[in-house]
C-alpha cells in the first residue's frame, strides 16, 4: 500500500546533507576572505552583537535606561556565574573581557540557528570553535607560566599532588595529553558538533514537515503536523542548547585558567 502510493506520487524526500554547511561563496570568492552564506551570517551576527552592546553602553547612566538594564543584567549574570564563580572577583576582573567576549560571541553565533532568515548557527563550522579553543588553551598556558612559574606550572599539571610516585609513570603522559591536547579539542568539538547536529535535526524536522504537508496526499499530512510539532519542540531544546554551549565553553575556559593560577589564585 505504501509502496503503491510512493509509486503513485513521484515526490521523493531529500534529507539535509552535510552539503548544508558548504554553500557557494557569495563575496570575495576564490580569496582567503571568501564569504559564503554561513560566514556572512557570522559577520552579520557579530555586527548585530556589537550594535546591541553599543546601544547598551554608549550613554551609561547610574539610573539605567531599559536597554542598558538588559545589557547590565547580561553582564552581571555572566560575570557572576561564569567568570567570578571559578576565578574569584579579583582575577575575574582581569579575565572578564576575554571570557565575556567568548560567551557573547558564541551565544550570538549560535542564536542564528533558530532566528529567521538565517536558520544556521555559524559555530557549526569548526573554524570559530577551533580559534576559541586555541585562545582558551594559549590563555591557560600563558597564565600558568606567568602566575604559577614556568617550570612549576608543568610540574603541577603533570604530577598532581597526593599520588604515589610510581603512578606518575602512568599519570604524567595521560595528564600531558588530556591537558595540553584534549582540552582545546574537546572545547571546539563539543561546541561544533552540538550546533552541527542541532541544525541538521531542525532541518530534518522542518524539511519533513514541508514534504509531508505539501507534497504528500491527505493521510500523510497528519504526519507533517507531527513533524512540525517535533520541530517546534526541538527548537525550544536548541534554544537551551544555544545558551548552554556558550555557558559550558566559557565556564570550562574560566576553570582551566583558575587551575593554572593554582596557588597564586
Amino acid at each position: 500500500m505504501f509502496g503503491a502510493q510512493a509509486v503513485a506520487h513521484t515526490a521523493t524526500f531529500v534529507p539535509p546533507t552535510i552539503d548544508e554547511f558548504y554553500p557557494a561563496d557569495i563575496l570575495f570568492a576564490g580569496t582567503p576572505f571568501a564569504l559564503n552564506r554561513i560566514l556572512l551570517i557570522r559577520v552579520i551576527s557579530i555586527a548585530l552583537l556589537l550594535l546591541l552592546v553599543w546601544l547598551g553602553v554608549r550613554r551609561m547612566r547610574v539610573v539605567p535606561t531599559r536597554w542598558q538594564g538588559v545589557v547590565e543584567f547580561s553582564y552581571d549574570f555572566v560575570r557572576k556565574n561564569v567568570v567570578d564563580q571559578p576565578l574569584g572577583e579579583r582575577q575575574g576582573r582581569r579575565f572578564a573581557p576575554l571570557l565575556m567576549a567568548m560567551f557573547f560571541s558564541i551565544i550570538i553565533m549560535n542564536l542564528t540557528e533558530v532566528v529567521p532568515p538565517f536558520l544556521m548557527p555559524s559555530t557549526s563550522l569548526i573554524g570559530v570553535p577551533l580559534v576559541l579553543g586555541i585562545i582558551s588553551w594559549a590563555t591557560f598556558i600563558y597564565v600558568g607560566i606567568k602566575d604559577d612559574g614556568g617550570w612549576r606550572f608543568f610540574v603541577h599539571e603533570l604530577f598532581p599532588k597526593g599520588v604515589p610516585w610510581p603512578l606518575y609513570i602512568l599519570i604524567a603522559p595521560v595528564e600531558l595529553i588530556s591537558t595540553f591536547v584534549f582540552r582545546p579539542l574537546t572545547l571546539a568539538l563539543r561546541l561544533t558538533m552540538n550546533m552541527f547536529v542541532g541544525h541538521l535535526l531542525l532541518a530534518l524536522c522542518f524539511g519533513a514537515t514541508s514534504f509531508f504537508l505539501f507534497e504528500m496526499p491527505m493521510l500523510w499530512k497528519s504526519l507533517g503536523v507531527g513533524m512540525l510539532a517535533f520541530g517546534l519542540i526541538f527548537t525550544l531544546f536548541e534554544l537551551l542548547e544555544i545558551v548552554l554551549q556558550a555557558y559550558i565553553f566559557t565556564l570550562l575556559t574560566a576553570n582551566y585558567i583558575a587551575m593554572s593560577l593554582g596557588d597564586a589564585n
Binding site: 582567503p32 557579530i46 551609561m60 547612566r61 573581557p97 560571541s105 580559534v131 568539538l189 561544533t192 552541527f196
Partner: protein, 187 residues
C-alpha cells in the same frame, strides 16, 4: 548521472572537522573585534558606571546616616536647651515670687511704720493742740465769763437768782474741766 557523481564526490571531500581558510580567518577577525570592543570600550564603561553607582549608593547611605546622627544631636541639644530654659524660667519665677514677697513685706512693714508714725505724730499734734487750746481757752474763759456775766447781769436784772445760778454752774464746770485738763494732756 555525471553531475550526480560529481556532487557526491564533492560532499565526500568535505570534512566537518577540518576548517577552511576563510572560516578560520573570519572566525579570528570576528572574535578579535568583539574582544577589542569588550576590552577597550564596553566593559570599562560598564565597570566605571557600576563603581560610580556603588559609590553613590554607599555615599548616599553614609550621607543619610550622617544626617540622621546630626538630627539626633540637634534634637538632643534642643531638648537640653529646652530643659535648661525651663529650669531657668522656674528659677526666675521662684526668685520673682521671693522678691515680690520680700518687697510686699517691706512695703507692708514700711506702710505700717509710716502709719504708726503718722498716727503717733497726729496723736502728739492733737495733744499739743488740745493742750494749747486748753491753755488759750483757760485764759479766755475768765474774760468770757466776765463778759457773759456782765451781759447777763446787764441784760436781765430782774432775773437775778437765775443768772447767779448760771454763772455758778459755769464756774463749776470750768473748775471740773481744769481738774480734768492736766489728766488729758498727760495721756
Amino acid at each position: 548521472m555525471l553531475t550526480f557523481a560529481a556532487v557526491t564526490a564533492a560532499s565526500e571531500s568535505h570534512n566537518p572537522l577540518l576548517p577552511s581558510v576563510p572560516d578560520l580567518i573570519w572566525g579570528t577577525v570576528c572574535f578579535v573585534v568583539v574582544l577589542g570592543v569588550f576590552w577597550k570600550y564596553a566593559l570599562p564603561r560598564i565597570q566605571t558606571m557600576l563603581d560610580e553607582r556603588s559609590e553613590k549608593i554607599a555615599g548616599g547611605i553614609q550621607k543619610a546616616e550622617a544626617a540622621q546622627a546630626e538630627a539626633a544631636n540637634a534634637l538632643e541639644s534642643y531638648n537640653a536647651q529646652l530643659a535648661d530654659a525651663r529650669a531657668e524660667a522656674n528659677q526666675i519665677r521662684a526668685r520673682a515670687r521671693e522678691d515680690a514677697e520680700k518687697i510686699a513685706a517691706e512695703i507692708t512693714a514700711k506702710a505700717k511704720r509710716e502709719g504708726e508714725r503718722i498716727v503717733a505724730q497726729a496723736t502728739a499734734q492733737t495733744e499739743t493742740d488740745r493742750a494749747a487750746a486748753f491753755r488759750e481757752l483757760k485764759g479766755e474763759v475768765g474774760v468770757l465769763a466776765v463778759d457773759l456775766a456782765s451781759q447777763i447781769v446787764g441784760v436781765s436784772l430782774g432775773d437775778d437768782a437765775q443768772a447767779k445760778a448760771v454763772v455758778d454752774r459755769f464756774i463749776d464746770q470750768l473748775g471740773k474741766a481744769d481738774a480734768a485738763a492736766p489728766e488729758g494732756a498727760a495721756r
